[in-house]
Point group: D2
């Protein structure tokens, strides 16, 4: 089959023939890929940033945002059947550790990360596990939803955790209306009546944010903290969802948070520096967020299938993977790039 392979860091990917995966374990599932998202993390992989943490054996196949159709199943698989349309949780889990037993998939002690730790979904077929498969309506086109498998679940997870804090009359600031952020805005709009304020450096991103449900937008031109303070009567926002969390956004985000409020870190790359006096005197919280649970992905798919969350995508044939990655790197991709084998 055709696959997008990484032979070495700091090199372009190659598209080449590799053997199709085969079932070996009882819970194995092989999925025929219908769409594989191209993510900024893929660029970071090429740069070697994940080499140490994930330590994949080179060469391997990229692709960690995948949807398609079940092609073959192991002997103990009961939740999906050959032919089912599925979206895949990014980290197949063991199902037996305490985190898995509590539904906390992202804290599984034995999970893998296809596309980062081993062969991913930028290929015709992907080997995954029954526990990663979320079954979809048969009419769903995998290429339309693939990006929800990682970007979507992460945004949804953060919003869902914040829901109890976002009752009517509150203000939620969302920093960064990009790939994850524009899903976050739609989740906020679907699930709360909070006042949604979106902060971004890019005017076009803010225009999109307004169409997706933002009540107010703030251009991050240096005056964003003051703007949020002014909008909130000097108090700050009840919740700040920071999809950037680098280049100063992280300290802005904490500063914009009101006394008793919570600052959610979703993006990364920066460094938070806060005197403990500022934390205790205002009783603010800093909340870490990573990819969500299996059930959260299933919930997000309900929002997608009922039209409450939609993705802007640009599709590329699988053989154009290098071009898609280059376009992403050059800022030329509108919405999310999706490879379609």
């Amino acid at each position: 089959m055709r696959a997008v392979r990484l032979h070495d860091y700091h090199q372009k990917v190659t598209i080449e023939e590799v053997p199709e995966p085969t079932i070996s374990g009882p819970l194995d599932v092989i999925v025929k890929i219908g769409g594989a998202g191209v993510c900024r993390t893929d660029l970071h992989i090429l740069e070697g940033q994940w080499a140490e943490a994930m330590a994949p054996a080179l060469p391997y196949t990229l692709g960690h945002e995948n949807a398609g159709w079940v092609h073959e199943v192991g002997s103990a698989v009961t939740n999906v059947q050959v032919g089912d349309t599925v979206i895949l949780h990014p980290t197949p889990t063991c199902g037996l550790c305490r985190a898995c037993r509590g539904g906390q998939d992202m804290h599984c002690e034995n999970s893998t990360f296809p596309g980062l730790s081993g062969d991913g979904g930028m290929a015709e077929y992907l080997l995954t596990s029954a526990r990663a498969c979320v079954k979809l309506d048969s009419g769903t086109r995998p290429e339309d939803v693939a990006a929800l498998a990682d970007a979507g679940i992460t945004a949804y997870h953060a919003v869902r955790k914040a829901l109890p804090l976002l009752y009517p009359g509150t203000t939620c600031v969302l920093i960064g209306a990009g790939g994850l952020g524009h899903i976050g805005i739609q989740c906020l709009s679907a699930l709360t009546a909070t006042n949604i304020v979106v902060v971004d450096r890019n005017r076009e991103a803010l225009d999109l944010a307004e169409k997706l449900g933002a009540h107010h937008t703030v251009l991050a031109d240096g005056g964003q903290v003051a703007a949020v303070q002014e909008m909130t009567g000097g108090h700050g926002a009840d919740v700040v969802l920071d999809f950037v969390a680098e280049q100063g956004a992280e300290n802005d985000g904490f500063t914009m948070t009101r006394a008793g409020g919570s600052y959610y870190v979703i993006g990364y790359g920066g460094c938070l520096t806060v005197p403990t006096l500022d934390i205790i005197s205002t009783e603010r919280n800093i909340v870490g967020n990573i990819v969500g649970t299996y059930n959260e992905l299933a919930e997000l798919m309900v929002l997608a299938q009922t039209g409450r969350v939609t993705l802007h995508t640009s599709t590329y044939p699988l053989d154009a993977a290098a071009e898609a990655l280059a376009d992403l790197d050059a800022g030329k991709v509108r919405g999310r790039a999706i490879l379609v084998p």
Copy 2:
């Protein structure tokens, strides 16, 4: 009446005659003081550290940890009567703002802070409000419980917030077994079956911690992070309660926290510096804590009156306030110093 007065920063307090307070508002309450705690914050006040934030008009009377008996009440007071034994919430609140209406006394938009923002309880009488009064069993001696009014409520508030995370099988690290911390240990012991690990620089403090319920103690001699990691199978603690949060404890505390866990900041003085990648990749939380609610003080008094939380105190006559402060500064006070008028 006699009162402990601050005439200027960087000077000793004086004990002198001042007029007794009088009732002017309908919810005013005058309390005859039975015990007033001497707190490290009083030393910070003398050093001028609170001058800007609280801006009291000098001279004024110190004392923010108070208990005694109701002496006189305003026309609309219905919750206490003259003669009742009471402990006082440290910040009388308005009862009308949204925070008060939700029970979040510490976020009241109109609260005062007797002993910091104006006349406190190191005196024969204190003017406070009906909303600050928690009624006690008539047999309670105010001097025995006064320190729970501020140190106690703060420790209890943090422990109570952490309770849902502290189910059997978890580990809770408590950093700093001093004035607040030794109450925190007792609260943990009374309200959870978590594995309690206490970290302190002082061997005597650790000995006391063991008597109060700590299951393990760790001397903070530089190897404390490694010791906690080892005790927890390399994972770190589910919850870290940091009563120090300065001089490096704050970054140790975050480091000791396991993936998915929460680090509670209660002490202050230091500066937390954390890459956002470390926050998101492990999904850890940083939780701010300040003094608790009125109801929490009432709950803590149940623990005190049933013997589940006890205080180690050294009493001084009111006229010996300067001596008590000097002893505290010199590290000579065993337990909490309490002034008894």
Copy 3:
């Protein structure tokens, strides 16, 4: 002033001149009424159903759903000023008991209930308390929102309690799309992405329900339990909100609830009869609901002022109170009847 007076049970109300109320306590507030809702409970009062429980001294003034403008305030009132537009929480509370201190207004040990326990708001002026006043935008017309003061807050309270159970993919059955229920539908629609199924005996009520956000409607013609089971794959609904809870709806409601689900009782009049085996074998919950908190009323007003919850009302002059009550009794009122002095 003119007021709607009840002289004896089983008699018509009379509209007559009574003295205006006067301020006596420091937290008293006199409100010039702009709108007073006419509620089915008023009919029950006339029938004497509340005589024993509330024991008002006759004659007295009816009216427990009130909004207007602040006319005069007591000496300690700080949250509203003369001229402010306000809606009134139905039960002025003491602010000092443990329930009040925890924000649980409906469990205040010392609350009153104007319009049931004493003079209410079907009059030109009403005596209430600072703690009952929720300040509104000055442009709000009291007659447009008055019905939210009791019907609205009750529906909102139940929906808000159920929110954590109503994630995407769940089904919520709402029984009874009348005065309270039609507000409940709008709250569900504003605050969740649950699948909203409305059950009512009245086809017109179901038509309105669809306009307000119901995704499915079921005519309660005897087949409603089977219809809900079929819609939910035989499982039942995750949450059932029962605004009827009499004449069999209560047992239907519990039966429609899925294993692990929750049945919310909001209406009343019937009798729930359930074998304990049915409760435990399916681990279902039965949740009581009464009027909400002050903060919930404030939150609901945000939904109203941003157009997410709207009321259908028919206004009557104050002097036409008897006619409004007769129309309500005869089923002739479209939406909610509101008296405007």
Copy 4:
């Protein structure tokens, strides 16, 4: 191997030779039984009460409270190894349905119930699943903990759900200090500082309750509701845990519950009859409870292994199963009867 077989309802069990179970699925586990609890449910099974609901093919082996040592494992089992000491969750679950994915084992759509729906653990060996195995310290004697597998987990589950309501100053009434209840008392004592009031018809059970942590006991001689009302200042208990829920206890239990409080149904057999007016006017909740989650069983084992929950047991050899059942039926068993093969 030897096994306790049920050939027909209303007949005595027989102890006979049957083939040992064999591994067929990849997650299968065979456990050498070290202790199998004898439960009142076994008597109900003999009476045919579970024949319809569970529909086991006769003859089959009884025993749903099991602990022992892993004897053999399927190809995909990774959480336990041959030789491990284990206690078994009573309902092996699929691990793939939405309930399992959320940690709600008791709502698994595909679980089995060994001992009720098919062969159980009153035998030398039991076939179960990896997902049922909770690994214990190697020094634990299975016969000492077996009864926690069903009775224990059920009591713990109810207590754990109630914990947020049981802060200091509250009162918890526990009805029925028998097999489950005496574990519930110990859980309350280990995990809360609530005021524990135990109600039972049996004076000896109350004596044991006091030793296990009850602060007050009430003999259920007809005056129990009045006694609880008096103890709670006429308010009723914040939480009632009803381990009886038949013969009137269920309606007593609800009546004893204070306004805003919650009544937990754990026992069964009776019928709850409550006017909906009583539910809403006081905003009380009725909470269903069934066996707990895998993680809860693991947590309970921490309490057991640290001595905070202990069981009173009487052991019988496997061949004396009929005698053990007869003793239980005759009320002659002190504590819990345990079969030891």
